[in-house]
Symmetry: C2
Subunit: 342 residues, 2 copies
Amino acid sequence: MKSDAVMGGDIGGTHMRIALVEANGNLLHSSKTATDVRAGAVDVVNRLILQCREVMAVAARMKRSVSALGLGIAGKIDRLGGTILFSPNLPSLARYPLVEVLGAALALPVFIENDADSFGMGENLLGAGRGIPNWIGLTLGTGVGGCIVLGGHLWRGDDLGYSGEFGHMVIDPNGPECACGLKGCLEAHASSSALKNGIRELIACGELRNGPLHEAWIAGSLTSEQIHRQAAQGDILAARLFHRLGWALGLAIAGQFSALGIRHAVIGGGVSNAWDQFITPLKQSLNAHSSMLRGEEAVVLRTELGDKAALIGSAYLAGLQLSQPVMETNRIGTILRKSPQP
Amino acid sequence: MKSDAVMGGDIGGTHMRIALVEANGNLLHSSKTATDVRAGAVDVVNRLILQCREVMAVAARMKRSVSALGLGIAGKIDRLGGTILFSPNLPSLARYPLVEVLGAALALPVFIENDADSFGMGENLLGAGRGIPNWIGLTLGTGVGGCIVLGGHLWRGDDLGYSGEFGHMVIDPNGPECACGLKGCLEAHASSSALKNGIRELIACGELRNGPLHEAWIAGSLTSEQIHRQAAQGDILAARLFHRLGWALGLAIAGQFSALGIRHAVIGGGVSNAWDQFITPLKQSLNAHSSMLRGEEAVVLRTELGDKAALIGSAYLAGLQLSQPVMETNRIGTILRKSPQP
């Protein structure tokens, strides 16, 4: 039998991905399936169990035993209680005894995390955050997730179920409405939802009257990838939405650099594929909104692991908790220390 | 000879205060003198030296030896190089070899700090932050200073000369101009300068046409204390400025609670004397701008040490660096660890 592996998962409102990961972060296998949240918690969890069993069968064929499952989930997570407290994209899973049900079905220790924290741990170990002691991470997807790495460790705050929730910082009190109910959150400017809402507003005010984005909106099939493609092909209205996205990220990152006294950020998530469309306005905005730091001192990096970051990070964090559960409750338990490789 | 004491100082644009502090934080003596920054760096430093010598003479009469001097200074501080990099209220001291000159004149080890970090360390040891592992501090004075305490330690970030600079986070891109050159900073809403600028604007737009605040503004003698007194006596325009101040603080603190995953803040500085005028709108705004935390979970505390916090904190930090200089440069040197009492 070769060395143990850990399963890492990334559970979003659209897809569930499960991977088999070695202790060094090497990804051996991964699978992806639709989440279909409308089907309800029991159905989602049953499909997740099936998907995990398939990955465990793959592991068995590779002569690997699986020692744990770690899941990164978008939302406010009770890691120690093993439930999702609140998740805008997975509402039916709130308060569901996820860790208990999965653990019993798979006969494995199961750990859950916020997905942006999983992303952060992946990039910290093997990606863009490697060797940088202090940085903030932002994941641009349906919403905007975030994480904070301090002294090389994932920062947990008071263990309230979230930290690094930059997406729900209000950056413009007069800005657009956010899915969370507030107005002017970073997420309402810098997520795929914000891009799609931007198209809706452009149509509503009569600025966008035809073309592929208009058609896709009418058909109900509009995606942020389409908006990105149109921006890349020179569509000025689409480009303006990415300009606003970059402006908002630059403003928010400048504020966090001032607050934390740091100068590195890592950006990931699906929307970061549109990097060329927003990085220049982002850097201009970061410079324009920084009074403590000179623009050239600020470093904004693009994810190196892409959609593998959260899979690798959640597997690593599961292995970590398997080997050092005591670290969860010690005096400075708010800093989750790195342990020897799981 | 009784046990050693340390001198702690708080150097602002208006006053210089020096105190004699015991290892347990007990304040034995303090003195206050005008800074008079217009006189130039050499004059300011010469008067500071005289003031320190007077405090050392007091110490000698008390049969105490003085082992170090620690100064809290508003501005971007190069702690290791011993100079002020940038200070809006002490511009003539920028790049002046302050630690070297003071050290030679007083024959003492001298350490400099940001004044809000000194405040934070004072409140952390003996004040409102006692026993709370993770919290942010805000000092409301001429400007808005800030500090971050994580795991019981003052957070230094990347040692760039600042951290916790909440005052220069942009909280409203359409907000008033800030002394730093940006627009809509927290400081432009929540400092004594912001209050005085508010009166200026009320006069300029014709809303404030007479009364004591109008007269004081015309005479060039307006202070934030006067604005506070008028608000307390029912002046609706003055009260509105404190309402805006509370709104801005609530918005900024909500954002930092979301970002750091914490729920405690401590507010000090001279303007915090107007507590009753802004705490209710602050709490309403904090609640209205929080999507992760319920309003009742957030805790906003008032300074317990008042204007003694920075004196006690700067003395403590000086004693700490005297006993554990190595901690300044170790791998996680960004966290300044507590050592045994100096």
